[in-house]
């Protein structure tokens, strides 16, 4: 093992510098009420993959890695340090000592192994199983010939070694996603399929009460290993509340955070209300909204046509349609993602040029096609704007507004010529450029049922992506970033997508809550990093 590759060094430095910014001397105590529209389906970290349970799970459980609060900077969590072998294939994590599960037992390397075995076991039916593809032995788990990952070894109670079958630059991010959370075997076995309703982790909060369909109460974990955290004694989540209603309750002082954000319809009204406008928090998110053009379906098999559509869309107008709650996009990656190309100009809005390109492709008279869209506001309105823009260059697009699952199905089986991705795709699972490629632009995702709805498959770029992801050396990250930048710009040459905008998040907090703005729109602990919110009334 090469000492120079101790990625932990860089991280430790960041931790030392960044840790102090947040864990300040605000007093612990107090409580808050957070509302959500949809019920919480599960709090099992191997299963939960919804908006509302994502950061709840992060507060109940910990993984080996995490991010600095309010940022997308990796940091150690349950792991104290880690080393990477020279070939980039072996990761060794040294665990923090004395970390206790909510049931009082100490967390050890056995638990790490158990948790990774569990999430990759097909019987768990984890929607996150696909993230662990680089661990040695995952294929044997998937086909049922093994019940334990060959590549994960307990060295001693506080050391775990993970061997990969290929170098994977995203592996530390994978160790930070919810699916890698550490769970205690005895609790999982006790509750079986109901573990998701009886979560036991090492996190800052523990579940105190859950009235199905109504309310969840999290209580502070008195034994939490991070000193001074969490700030609040209690969080009450009230579910089943429409965002409009949630906002009214906040304004009435009955709730503290609308978990689903400020609904678009109320946005202008709240922003102009002198009483509330200062409580609004805006944040970027790792999201891009785009139109997919199915490259397997004529006439979108012609690159001229796809470029013409790129030039035909008036993105600024679409941003106005959603009251300016987004930034115009010109490439797949959102601006805060490493690998974003700030100097790239993209396809400028140019209907005349678009018409000329169509004529070049032999379609001077235009054509008729279908635009699939998820049927909740504001997506149908956005689809109408797209429809008008297309009509201006002679393309007649019929709008198919369907339930989410039906649009996803039509995208997966390739029957949709065009899809507006809003409300479905794509928010990054972790802050790394590769997460915007594999499933939605790579060849693997272009298979039947995959999320690459453009069915775009460029093998040359796939090879380059694999190459970029095998660069594990922290010293070569700039090089890796550049490779990804080139990949996305090459994608734009082929134009399988029209990147339209990067959505901004707008949320609110009541006057009595404190904490840096960034944790209320945390890019990773989505939507809110609960651990760092404090109550002003106990200070």
């Amino acid at each position: 093992m090469r000492k120079a590759l101790m990625a932990g060094v860089a991280l430790a430095a960041l931790l030392a510098a960044g840790g102090g910014t947040y864990a300040q001397d605000e007093k612990q105590g107090g409580s808050m009420i957070v509302t959500y529209k949809d019920d919480v389906s599960t709090l099992d970290p191997a299963i939960g993959y919804d908006w509302q349970n994502w950061s709840m799970i992060k507060s109940l459980f910990d993984g080996l890695m995490d991010y600095e609060p309010g940022t997308s900077t990796l940091t150690h969590d349950l792991a104290e340090s880690h080393t990477i072998s020279e070939d980039g294939l072996t990761y060794t994590f040294v665990l923090r000592k004395g970390v206790k599960f909510h049931n009082g037992r100490e967390m050890t390397a056995e638990d790490v192994k158990y948790s990774l075995d569990r999430v990759t076991n097909p019987a768990t039916q984890s929607p996150g199983a696909g993230f662990f593809g680089s661990i040695k032995g995952v294929d044997k788990m998937a086909d049922g010939s093994a019940t334990s990952l060959e590549g994960v070894t307990v060295v001693d109670p506080y050391t775990i070694k993970i061997e990969l079958s290929r170098p994977d630059a995203t592996f530390l991010h994978v160790m930070a996603i919810n699916f890698s959370s550490i769970v205690p075997k005895e609790a999982v076995e006790e509750f079986g399929a109901d573990f998701g309703k009886h979560p036991v982790g090492t996190g800052a909060f523990k579940l105190a009460e859950w009235t199905l369909g109504q309310r969840l109460v999290f209580a502070r974990n008195q034994d939490y290993w991070k000193a001074g955290l969490p700030k609040l004694d209690q969080i009450t989540f009230e579910v089943g509340q429409e965002p409009t209603v949630a906002l009214l309750r906040l304004q009435n002082g009955e709730a503290d955070i609308p978990g689903d954000g400020i609904p678009p319809a109320q946005f202008l009204q709240v922003r102009e209300d002198p009483q509330f406008k200062d409580l609004i928090i805006e944040g970027g998110q790792l999201q891009t909204g785009y139109i997919t053009l199915n490259v397997k379906t004529p006439p979108f098999d012609k690159v001229e046509v796809r470029r013409a559509v790129n030039m035909a869309i008036n993105k600024e107008r679409i941003v106005r349609v959603i009251n300016g709650r987004a930034l115009v996009a010109n490439q797949p990656l959102p601006p805060s993602m490493p690998g974003y190309a700030p100097d790239y100009k993209g396809y400028a809005y140019d209907p005349e040029g678009a018409k000329a390109l169509l004529a070049e492709a032999g379609l001077a008279d235009g054509f008729t096609t279908e635009l699939y869209v998820y049927n909740t506001d504001p997506n149908p309105r956005i689809a109408q704007a797209i429809q008008q823009d297309l009509a201006a260059i002679g393309i007649t697009a019929e709008i198919k507004a369907l339930a989410q699952a039906n649009v996803i199905e039509a995208g997966g089986n390739g029957s949709a010529p065009m899809i507006w991705s809003g409300g479905m795709a794509w928010i990054a699972d972790f802050p790394d450029p590769s997460n915007f490629y594999g499933p939605i632009l790579g060849c693997a995702g272009a298979e039947e049922g995959g999320w690459n709805w453009a069915k775009y498959c460029n093998e040359e770029l796939d090879a380059k992506a694999t190459e970029a992801d095998s660069i594990v050396d922290p010293a070569r990250q700039a090089e890796r970033e550049q490779m990804w930048r080139d990949i996305y710009l090459a994608v734009m040459e082929d134009a399988p997508w029209v990147p339209v905008f990067n959505e901004q998040r707008f949320t609110m907090r009541s006057e009595r809550l404190g904490g840096p703005d960034a944790i209320f729109v945390d890019p990773v602990h989505v939507p809110v990093n609960y651990d760092y919110v404090f109550a002003k009334d106990v200070q």
Partner: protein, 306 residues
């Protein structure tokens, strides 16, 4: 009577069987794959196939249905695909809230509907009659999500008389009950009006007037009890109407009932929950209708149950 009830219950079982079959067919035909919903967006084809196998979604239709039916006969509604919790537990935890809401709605629709109908009948042909009937018409036709949000805005936000959504106290119950009840009350108002007019034309009413009884006494002692009975018999049938209404009303008010559960399951194609809620609602409707039929002869002895 006993024979009748047994026969009707037998029919009910057949109806429920039919409903389960139709719902199952419809869910089978939905152009979306539940296994993919479970597997998530980063799943490999292998993972999806694995889940499909585990859930038996790759089996032919009749075999899937047969499995479901067998479990159902054992009283097992299955486990939710996405929550992994037992469907019976999910429904049981939410049923009380829905029943409470329905009870509140029945109270509202009777109170409002009967009062409106009676007033309209007594002041027949007047401006009051016309405006009440127009109001009833609006009540029947207005979409419940509009009424719900309107009531919320006026009584909860502006006036602050009631909490904005939620569940727990009597105060929470008022606005959702009113929203759900308004639809029925328009209906009841019209029925009550015509029923009352019928009664007021009867000879015994004229006799009562002739005896020199005061108008109010005639109305409440002689006319009302007779006019009201046929309407009470309709409450059982209302339950079916409520079943569709609660999906909307529970969503608007954040009422933790089975309507909300169903709505969220439909969006995610969580088949076991959709099936479970459909069957429970169907049971309620069938029983409600049976109840209405059983009550009818008690009210009007001319009706015979055969």
């Amino acid at each position: 009577m006993t024979g009748y009830v047994i026969r009707r219950l037998g029919q009910a079982v057949l109806i429920l069987f039919g409903i389960s079959l139709v719902t199952f067919v419809l869910l089978y035909l939905v152009p979306a794959d539940p296994a993919r919903q479970i597997a998530g967006r980063s799943a490999t084809a292998e993972t999806v196939e694995n889940i499909r196998n585990q859930l038996g979604l790759n089996l032919p239709f009749y075999e899937q249905y047969w499995r479901y039916l067998q479990a159902l006969l054992r009283g097992d509604l299955g486990r939710s695909y996405l929550q992994k919790t037992e469907v019976s537990a999910l429904i049981a935890s939410r049923l009380p809230a829905s029943l409470l809401l329905m009870a509140g709605a029945i109270a509202c629709e009777l109170a409002i509907g009967l009062a409106m109908g009676m007033l309209a009948a007594v002041r027949r042909g007047s401006f009051l009659d016309n405006s009440l009937m127009i109001a009833a018409f609006v009540g029947v036709s207005a979409p419940q999500f509009v009424i719900g949000i309107l009531l919320l805005y006026v009584f909860a936000v502006q006036l602050g008389w009631f909490p904005i959504g939620g569940y727990g106290t009597f105060h929470h119950l008022v606005l959702p009950s009113l929203t759900l009840g308004l639809l029925g009350s328009g209906w009841y108002a019209r029925m009550m009006r015509s029923s009352m007019l019928d009664v007021l034309r009867q000879d015994y009413i004229r006799t009562a007037h002739a005896k020199g009884l005061r108008g109010r006494k005639v109305l409440f002692r002689h006319a009302l009890p007779n006019a009201i009975l046929p309407i009470i018999a309709m409450i059982g049938i209302d339950i079916g109407m409520f079943m569709s209404g609660i999906v909307v009303v529970e969503s608007v008010f954040g009422w933790p009932g089975i309507g909300q559960l169903a709505w969220q399951a439909i969006q995610r194609i969580d088949i076991p929950i959709i099936m479970g809620v459909t069957l429970v609602s169907a049971c309620a409707i069938v029983l409600g209708n049976l109840l209405a039929d059983l009550v009818a002869p008690l009210i009007d002895p001319r009706i015979k149950l055969r």
